[in-house]
Assembly symmetry: C2
Homo-oligomer: 380 residues x 2
């Protein structure tokens, strides 16, 4: 088994307060990763901005970076950290999710997947080894295993065959990553690898797969293939089913999730790490997360409203500008609206995670979750 870099400080029910030590510094958990798809947060937010927003860890997409600028450009620049001027941890996904959601004309075989680029249509092959080589060239802190992400609902027999292949792919990822890390010219010789649990909404297959992949030593394990068509209740029940079989001394990452309520409900069920495009995507449509609920800034009632998006919020948008000004910028299609609103929502998410951690430290997470779940989901 690989060494554990996760320290569990405290639990409350299934909820966990821990620290994950990486080659690029600690990640206090539970944590939310801010998504910088192509090496930048959508909306004009830079790495120094992310520090101001108190982001601990950024997620970048292997598929996008492979297509543009290409991993060899990033390697030549000294890796993603130097390229983006970001010193804290970076997690790269495997490219699998985008291959299965964005690319066209896919052909899945034991070796890997052949697909067409969504940018220029060229044919590309990616398997476990290719994904590891790309992520190694990017030099991220944490690489994700190459898996098949199945849409829900999925046929049971297909799911069963798919998770067996994903287990075999994880073994190949582990082997390839060990080779890559031992190379003298490795961008990050201490690159970590997380395995990914699949199995659609079949609890027994989820558990079977989790038992199989935990035998392959990884620095963390993720639950993948959720938030892709099933209900929130189904998602929570999958987490409850699989969580007891996840190694307690490794971080647990719920991929692509979710709303503030999803996060509270999942922390409650033992999840440590999250990522989601929702804060930035919703911001670009004028939907702002606040401690009163979700505010739609397009609403006419904010036309001459001198208050900030959220009273008492310390984000760069709320410190400087009124709802009226931000609504004007949004309606005028000004990039400045995108930037300021994305910054507000990321600040909100990063602050929520800090509040969750503090409530765990102080043994009052359950009360915290009960108080905020009814509020954070409502539209105001």
């Amino acid at each position: 088994m690989a060494d554990s870099f996760y320290t569990l400080h405290k639990t409350e029910g299934a909820a966990r307060r821990g620290t994950f030590m990486t080659p690029h510094g600690p990640i206090e958990m539970p944590a939310f990763m801010n998504v910088g798809t192509a090496g930048a947060i959508k909306g004009g937010v830079s790495s120094p901005d992310l520090c101001e927003l108190r982001c601990q860890v950024e997620l970048c997409n292997t598929y996008h970076l492979h297509l543009r600028p290409g991993e060899e450009v990033v390697r030549a620049m000294g890796g993603l950290h130097r390229f983006m001027n970001w010193e804290r941890p970076i997690l790269t996904d495997s490219g699998g999710f985008q291959v299965f959601s964005l690319a066209s004309l896919r052909k899945i075989e034991e070796a890997g997947v052949t697909f067409q680029s969504h940018i220029d249509g060229r044919r590309i092959f990616m398997g476990p080894e290719e994904s590891m080589r790309i992520q190694s060239a990017l030099g991220s802190t944490i690489a994700m295993a190459f898996d098949e992400c199945i849409q829900n609902p999925a046929e049971r027999n297909y799911t069963s065959r798919s998770i067996s292949r994903t287990t075999r792919w994880l073994a190949r990822c582990r082997k390839e990553m060990d080779i890559l890390c031992s190379r003298k010219d490795a961008v990050n010789p201490r690159q970590m690898l997380f395995g990914i649990n699949q199995g659609s909404t079949y609890h027994d297959l989820r558990i079977e797969h989790m038992k199989a992949i935990r035998e392959i030593p990884c620095e963390g394990y993720a639950i993948g293939g959720l938030a892709v068509g099933e209900s929130a209740e189904e998602m929570y029940s999958v987490i409850e089913a699989v969580e007891p079989f996840m190694p307690a001394d490794r971080p647990r990452y719920l991929m692509g999730v979710g709303t503030p309520v999803n996060i509270l409900e999942s922390v409650r069920r033992g999840v440590d790490l999250f990522d989601c495009v929702m804060p930035s995507r919703n911001a670009r449509h004028g939907h702002l997360f606040t401690r009163e609920g979700i505010r739609n800034l397009n609403n006419e009632k904010y036309k001459t409203d001198p208050l900030p998006i959220e009273e008492g919020c310390g984000c760069p948008a709320c410190r400087n500008f009124s709802r009226a000004y931000l609504r004007h910028l949004l309606r005028a299609g000004e990039m400045l609206a995108m930037r300021l609103l994305v910054m507000h929502n990321l600040w909100f998410y990063n602050t929520l995670m800090e509040d969750i951690r503090r409530s765990l430290d102080e043994g009052r997470f359950d009360a915290f979750a009960r108080e905020w779940i009814p509020i954070l989901g409502r539209r105001i």
Copy 2:
């Protein structure tokens, strides 16, 4: 005559080093105004960002703000300064230029112009009084007179009739602005008014018009209707013709100009104030102004270039990021590229103006202009 708020410190040939004192603080001249069309710089640059870029004065467009969000929204928010969170001077144009360049189905009469909005097609009437009322509601530091901006080349008889009307319009602007400033509820009771010289490329008409408008007391005078089709040489010759007839104790503003070379050549001919969308528009296409010349960041040769856009530049883009990263962001269509490149170009322009002022202070402007004119216009 209105009081003079312009102090002339030093001259070198026709070039002038002065300070213009406004109700929102001093503008050290020669100065370049950063253009925030609809109440924000294109590319996601905020008012606090502009302070970092050492912008002295921002220009906003009356036509755009009239259509969206409407001047009454801005007035209700306490005026443009509070709306945008910008305490330094703001100049608003009259709306005339956009009426003559963006709007359609124009009908020009003595009273003013009827036109169709380029946003929703509705019929709008704007004359001198309407322009002053809108700018008064916006509460800018400096309002521009409502004039007719003629495309070059223009027919001589039409030009002659047009400048007579523009003179009569200026008298109406002055009268209306005096009334508006005397109102108890004026957003800015000390709002300044600049008259605008027209006359196409006919030197005698330009001089005739300048002599007419200088009789109407204004806090400054502008040369309008240039950089709209004529050559740079024609533009310089118009400035040379009209400059001796401009009041020496008032700032001279050359509207919509221009490249760094245009600015050096015009300062040399006695101009104090400039505005242009070029730094932000060129930045969005990857064309960056540097002390070596104009760099096209789209060029393949910057693919893995670890240097900043301009070595030694202190702007937020050059302090943090490489050409390779910025080129990647630009090609990926990331908003962050727009923001960082616009900030570089505005920093370059604002720094150029500081350098021009310092060279005037030190009596070496002519040498400075001779040294930089051949360099700043070249493509590298």
